[in-house]
Amino acid sequence: MRRQRFWGLFLLPGGIWLLVFFLLPMAVVFGVSVGTVDELGRPLEVFGVPPIVGAHWENWERVLDDDTILRPILRSFAYAGASTLLSLAIAYPVAYTIARYGGRWKALLLILVILPFWVNYLVRTYAWLVLLGDDGFVNGALDLAGLGPYQLTNRGLAVVMGLTYSFLPFMILPIYASIDRIDPRLIEAGKDLYGTAAATFRHVTLPLTQQGILAGCVLNFLPGFGDFITADLLGGPGVFMIGNVIQLQFLGEGEWPYGAVLTFMLIPLLMVVMVWYLRSSARAARQVGRA
């Protein structure tokens, strides 16, 4: 009994953190969502008085009539989904190579993976613009091959590439961890049992790294879905994501209540992804337990 209470204390810091930096702000966001704004767009009457009676539910009703946010939501799904798949395709071989063949260079290679993050995001994005511009290096190279020039910036493709680039390390690292954890004897066993390299990969390595893949996908998809900076910097007129819509409510229009409503609207959408992830990882944990 005493012992349990001791371990329970370990939850305290995390619990306080969640309360102060998650639940309370969410309560404020909710308050704003049923409030009004003044002439300059500053939120007023944040909690209504009393909280629910007299609340401005019309902010919530507006979202039901607003069919203009559908496209940005679909775009967010498409861009985040595409970049997650692209990221996976790039990250898996990289993680595999580092984990299995990195040897004494492992630490260095992992540092190289996160090295770009030591450079300011803006500088990196400007570098992209220079590389991908109409007169940039990529089009220059294509020109030598007799192709192009193609417009590579200010379009959806550029946003997908930017998202992939931003979140790639969050795909590489969990996959690396899951591959690194595999007992090499299992892979040897697969080969000993006359499995081809492909069959061994499919029946041994891939299932054992499933959790890393899932974690990487979630770590790519969720932040990618809510991202707005990438679309803003690399995108053009037709790439507005839901994150941009929300951002515009706060900094572009003084429509804080509606921005707060949209923020809440996204939660159930993203919860679907999260719940799917938690269930599949729980299932995987049970399987491992049984094995």
Partner: protein, 378 residues
């Protein structure tokens, strides 16, 4: 100008916004009770004296990117022994959101006249201490009692501008004269539009000879539809007309007069950069310098405004930003600028000739903003 906020800026602004998001929501929530809009303070008498509430040797300036001569900032720092901390906004809405939500303090801001009007009416600008700004005497007569700030109590005029079309002569020739050129199939993928509700929806108003300063829902909806139809031609909505035009990826850009001059100063072939105020008419306006209510360094801020209004400094500033400053002693500076074109000049006559929209009440602004959001969402 001004309005050439760079992409760099947007990220900074947005990140600041995102990071401070929860905090400022919280602050807004806490402060909402006491944040009653001040009664009309337009008639306020100038304060007798001013002090720096915070004595940390800093001055916090909030401005458009590329809208001040950086050498002048350095000179001010040296002369007054202060450190000028510069931050940038990319539009009036973002500026107002940031100065009103309390996450970050600012001293000097550069609102466009109609935003200055709204800020004055909400009591969000400090009345200026005239004794600290002796150079106010260079404010031209017609700006001493502007409609947006009766008596020039809270603001000092900064510079005036027109909106129009920036273009590369080597790519598109020299015969652009009409807003219709922004809808020309030839410029597909090479065309930039200002990321600004009033400017962009305004273009269609000018084309149809509608009053771009009036809120007419039918006109605004028609403007929205025309801009949505234009989207396949547009490469980006952006206020960074300077950055976009210097990158070479854009041939034609909806933009601001003085930015043409700045672009010329940044590219290798300045003779190829042109600017035109289309024949159908356009916007013109005044930007101002003002001090945010509760500014931590009010005295230094007034010294800064005074410094910028010194005729020699105003001249040096015009030579950098390419916008004429409203100062009786610098009226002849712009025409002498090397490389500036006649089309980029702005005079007070332009303010009478072109459209200077009135300050729109919030409900009318929302009609415009909603239409613009629909353009961007589509």
């Amino acid at each position: 100008m001004t309005r050439s906020q760079t992409r760099a800026q947007s990220r900074r602004t947005f990140l600041g916004g995102a990071g401070a998001g929860a905090a400022s929501l919280w602050l807004a929530a806490c402060g909402s009770g006491s944040d009653e809009p001040a009664a009309q303070s337009t008639a306020a008498e100038p304060a007798a004296k001013s002090v720096n509430a915070v004595d940390d040797g800093k001055l916090l300036v909030f401005n458009w990117q590329d809208y001040i001569n950086p050498e002048l900032v350095k000179q001010f720092e040296k002369e007054h022994g202060v450190e000028v901390v510069y931050d940038f906004f990319d539009g009036m809405e973002a500026m107002i959101a940031k100065i009103t939500t309390g996450g970050q303090k600012y001293d000097v801001v550069f609102p466009v006249y109609d935003s200055a009007d709204r800020l004055v009416k909400q009591g969000l600008l400090e009345p200026l201490t005239f004794d600290n700004i002796p150079n106010r005497k260079y404010i031209p007569a017609e700006f001493q009692d502007p409609s947006y700030d009766p008596g020039s109590v809270h603001t000092v005029p900064y510079a005036i501008w027109t909106s129009g079309i920036l273009f590369r002569r080597d790519r598109v020739g020299d015969d652009l004269t009409s807003w219709n050129d922004l809808f020309d199939e030839r410029f597909r993928g090479k065309l930039g539009m200002l990321d600004n509700w009033q400017e962009s929806l305004g273009v269609v108003h000018f084309l149809n000879d509608w009053d771009a300063g009036a809120t007419d829902e039918a006109h605004i909806k028609a403007a929205r539809d025309k801009l949505i139809a234009q989207k396949p031609l547009v490469r980006d909505y952006s206020v960074d007309d300077i950055g976009n035009m210097t990158s070479g990826d854009f041939w034609v850009h909806h933009g601001w007069s003085g930015d043409g001059y700045q672009i010329k100063n940044k590219v290798k072939d300045p003779e190829n950069i042109g600017y035109v105020v289309p024949k159908e008419g356009s916007f013109a306006g005044t930007d101002t310098m003002a001090i945010v209510k509760g500014a931590p360094h009010k005295k230094t801020a007034e010294e800064f405004i005074n410094f910028m209004y010194d005729p020699a400094n105003s001249k040096a500033n015009i030579e950098y930003i390419g916008y004429p400053m409203i100062n009786t002693e610098t009226q002849d500076v712009f025409p002498t600028l090397e490389g500036a074109e006649a089309s980029m000049a702005v005079t007070t006559a332009d303010l009478a000739r072109l459209t200077v929209p009135p300050t729109l009440p919030r409900e009318e602004r929302r009609v415009w903003l909603k239409a613009w959001a629909e353009v961007k969402n589509s």
